[in-house]
């Protein structure tokens, strides 16, 4: 379309943009319909590109309203600067805040808080209930492990293989002078999820166990703790002798 300059209150009346606005409205409607409709297609919803795709659609709508309805696209550069520079600053701070939420330190001790994210990650059954649980009953844990095992423990197992296995052996059987056996019934520093979480996060002074909270997110630590706890009682062959307190079933 053409971009006639229009005087503010001058004698020549500017061109009408009505038709243009109606076309933009139709496009906006279609895009919104696609955005919502796509979520009802089981074949599509669940593929990796759904989230980026609706994100792109939202940005497209954003641009359309700003560029056409707010008339910024053909308008003076000063307006663009006044709006776009803080918009990008806001986008930047928004991304930073979201990213920092993942890496921000969470205080250790006091218990094991199950967040909604834990549930979605699949290692806590949806029925487990929320809140600030210090110790879980064993039957609840067993059910949770069974459920998580179906998904292969996802992240927790991978973390164990890449990080813990160096000292605790690939199957968790332990290595002399490095890391104790994780598959017996004994835990040196407590066998509850909360205690395991704290041990992994803070490390143990005077031993080879480092504080992983400096390089692992709280999320990853939780999942590793959860996986480690599920190893209890597996008693793999050639595991080290029991050290520490036996944890009852």
């Amino acid at each position: 379309m053409s971009h006639p300059t229009h005087a503010d209150g001058g004698h020549d009346l500017p061109h009408s943009h009505q038709k243009h606005y109606l076309i933009v409205a139709a496009v906006l409607t279609v895009v919104t319909a696609v955005e919502i409709g796509i979520l009802f297609l089981p074949a599509v919803n669940g593929t990796w590109w759904v989230v980026p795709f609706i994100g792109v659609l939202a940005v497209f709508k954003f641009g359309l309203v700003v560029g056409e309805f707010m008339h910024l696209r053909p308008d003076h550069g000063v307006y663009k600067f006044l709006f776009m520079s803080p918009m990008f600053l806001a986008l930047f701070s928004f991304i930073a805040l979201s990213a920092l939420a993942v890496v921000t330190y969470q205080p250790f001790g006091g218990g094991y808080a199950i967040t909604q994210r834990d549930r979605k990650a699949g290692f806590v059954p949806p029925s487990a209930g929320g809140g600030f649980e210090v110790a879980w009953p064993e039957d609840k844990l067993k059910a949770a492990f069974a459920e998580a095992e179906k998904g292969g423990f996802a992240k927790g197992k991978a973390t164990f293989a890449s990080t813990c296995a160096n000292c605790h052996r690939g199957d968790g059987g332990g290595m002399p002078a490095l890391g104790p056996n994780m598959t017996d019934d004994c835990f040196k520093h407590g066998g509850s999820l909360a205690e395991l979480y704290t041990t992994i996060g803070k490390g143990v002074q005077g031993t080879a166990m480092p504080a992983w909270s400096t390089s692992m997110s709280p999320d990853a630590i939780r999942q590793a703790a959860f996986f480690v706890r599920s190893l209890k009682g597996k008693n793999v062959a050639g595991g080290l002798e029991c050290v520490g307190t036996k944890v009852a079933d």
């Binding site: 600053l89 930073a96 330190y105 808080a113 600030f132």
Partner: protein
């Protein structure tokens, strides 16, 4: 050689005004004149400086000797909190606002700001916010959570009632600053005199433009942080409640996302003042004029990306720490550029060492010391050692007192004659200068050593055998020097404004447009709108043939805005909303909200 006496022949313009001016007190309450609002900001800022200085004196007396028990625990914390809050928001910021209000329109050749009534609204909202915060002394106790107001110190279980006054007062200041920011951005961009391209805008006006962008765009995050805090305290939301999964770091992020640009809000105007004062008294153009402007812009943008360096000890993780360390190191570069610009201006200069010049020259080394200790904090391992120690206290006082306040003093001696029409006394000025500089360095230089010797900030006393006695005693003596010197400055201002030597239009043989009009300027500022032909329009008018500012033959027709009661009334309703929120008398808030809507209706339908 042309002289500014030429302008005396210009005919005063024809006025259009809806309502005649008022006189007396109601004139000050209803004024929309940027010059009067500037004076109001100035008086408020000086009052804030006195209050903040008194608070500093009190806690320095407590710290003068070990094991004293004059102000203990929360009393001490309250003094420290209010000292910082007062100095930042109620002394330095209003003094900057005073200079912006009074001089920006004069510098760019305008008759007022873009939105005169909004300007008045900004001032009254600011003043009510200040009064609201300080009324905590009467109705509750002083807020004692530090000026940074870290959660959970400010949440309900730990922060007493004073915190409610703190957030409500700060919220009003946020509204005021945001609106003022938008107002001045538009003023500087759109109300420049003909010919004043962006590169011909005076450096001080440029730095103030950057500052107004920072105000407009950095206050919203802390406004959000304050809203979350207010909701936590008032309506029981759980933003900062750890037992509900909340994370107090959120406050730190939101606060410093504002807080770091705020640091540049405080220092950039002083850099601008120094960039104006040095060339005038060196009788040279500013060395690398464009570099000063562009480095200011660069500082403004990157200032939004460095907030994490205040949080290295909060455990953000190595990636975030590294990113913020890099941005922090980068932002030191444009600051260094400016320092070389000022030094370059002084090279081979025939300096006139007036008091204004002395302050401006002293700004450079003092700010450099503060800047260098600041760059050290860009390194996370070093920062972990220095965090919350007196080393940090020394660092930011070298920037904010040795830098910002020293620059403002330079500005006071330079610009006050334009406001009062009379010069300040130079002898008293030099006594002020020497006492202030000696006192300042006595107080804050030993704090570097204190910090390195392990003295933490915000402790109300310390044991005699800790090895910190001498430095603390020296520091307190230095504060007494500073207090006396500022009292001399106040006395000088009061006496000189009545009995000082008459300044005339251009006492300093200066460069920029504000010096071509009488001191004090008439209500309409300029008899005719000057056409700007160079970076130093008045200097070139006087000394460069072909660059004279021509006086038009015809009288100009101008419209001056009339006085208005609307701004102060709407601002009062905003205050009412906040009083209702913090006293839990919801009816007050509802009345205030309705009052704002009705007030705005009458505001927009009032002819101006």
């Amino acid at each position: 050689m042309a002289s500014i006496a030429d302008f005396a022949g210009a005919q005063p313009p024809v006025y259009h005004q809806e309502r005649e001016s008022k006189y007396g007190l109601s004139d000050w309450l209803t004024t929309v004149d940027h010059k009067k609002i500037g004076i109001l900001y100035g008086i408020s800022g000086l009052a804030g400086l006195a209050v903040g200085g008194l608070e500093a004196l009190l806690f320095r007396i407590q710290l003068a000797q070990p094991d004293q028990h004059i102000f203990v625990g929360d009393q001490f914390n309250g003094l420290v909190t209010m000292h910082a809050t007062t100095m930042v928001f109620m002394a330095v910021m209003p003094l900057i606002a005073a200079i912006s209000n009074y001089f920006v329109p004069l510098m760019i050749g305008a008759r007022d700001v873009a939105f005169p009534r909004l300007n008045a609204f900004s001032y009254w909202t600011f003043l009510f916010g200040v009064l609201l915060m300080h009324s905590s002394l009467i109705f509750a106790e002083f807020p004692a959570a530090g000026w940074t107001g870290y959660a959970p110190l400010t949440t309900k279980p730990y922060g007493a009632g004073g915190i409610d006054f703190w957030w409500a007062g700060l919220a009003m200041l946020a509204i005021s600053s945001m609106i003022a920011g938008v107002n001045f951005v538009v003023t500087i961009l759109n109300m420049r005199a003909p010919g004043m391209t962006l590169m011909r805008v005076p450096v001080l006006a440029w730095m103030i433009l950057v500052v107004q962008f920072l105000l407009a765009f950095s206050f919203p995050p802390v406004t959000v942080g304050l809203i979350l805090l207010a909701f936590d305290r008032t309506f029981g939301s759980v933003f900062y409640e750890t037992s509900m999964g909340g994370d107090p770091h959120l406050w730190q992020h939101l606060f410093w996302l504002f807080g770091h640009p705020e640091v540049y809000v405080l220092i950039l105007p002083s850099m601008g003042i120094v960039s104006e004062v040095l060339p005038v008294f060196s009788r040279k153009p500013l060395f690398g004029h464009h570099a000063v402007i562009f480095s200011g812009i660069f500082i403004g943008f990157v200032g939004f990306g460095v907030w994490g360096h205040h949080m290295f000890t909060s455990g953000m993780g190595p990636i975030a720490d590294a990113a913020f360390a890099v941005t922090t190191a980068i932002i030191a570069v444009p600051t260094g550029v400016k320092i070389f610009n000022w030094l370059g201006t002084l090279v081979h200069a025939k300096m006139r060492l007036t008091t204004a010049m002395l302050f401006a020259v002293t700004f450079i080394p003092q700010f450099t010391i503060g800047g260098l200790s600041g760059v050290m904090h860009a390194s996370p391992p070093l920062d972990l050692q220095q965090h919350d120690s007196y080393f940090v206290v020394a660092h930011f006082h070298y920037v904010l007192v040795g830098g910002a306040l020293t620059g403002l003093f330079a500005g006071a001696y330079f610009y006050l004659p334009k406001i009062t029409g009379r010069l300040l006394d130079e002898t008293l000025g030099k006594i002020h200068f020497w006492m202030f500089i000696i006192g300042f360095n006595l107080t804050f230089f030993p704090m570097h050593l204190l910090g390195n010797n392990g003295m933490p900030r915000r402790i109300f006393t310390y044991p005699a055998d800790a090895g910190w006695n001498t430095e603390n005693m020296i520091g307190t003596i230095g504060v007494v020097f500073q207090v006396v010197s500022v009292l001399i400055f106040f006395y000088n201002m009061m006496v000189s404004s009545k009995k000082g030597a008459v300044a005339g239009s251009d006492p300093w043989d200066a460069n920029t447009l504000e010096w071509m009009i009488p001191s004090p300027p008439p209500v309409h500022n300029f008899d005719f709108t000057p056409v700007v032909l160079s970076e130093r329009p008045l200097w070139d008018h006087k000394y460069t043939p072909g660059f004279e500012i021509t006086v038009p033959a015809q009288r100009e027709e101008i419209h001056m805005p009339s006085y208005s009661w609307r701004p102060i009334i709407v601002s009062g309703f905003v205050l009412l909303v906040l009083i209702g929120l913090l006293s839990h008398i919801w009816a007050l808030s509802v009345v205030g909200g309705v009052g704002i809507v009705v007030g705005v209706y009458f505001w927009v339908s009032e002819p101006v």
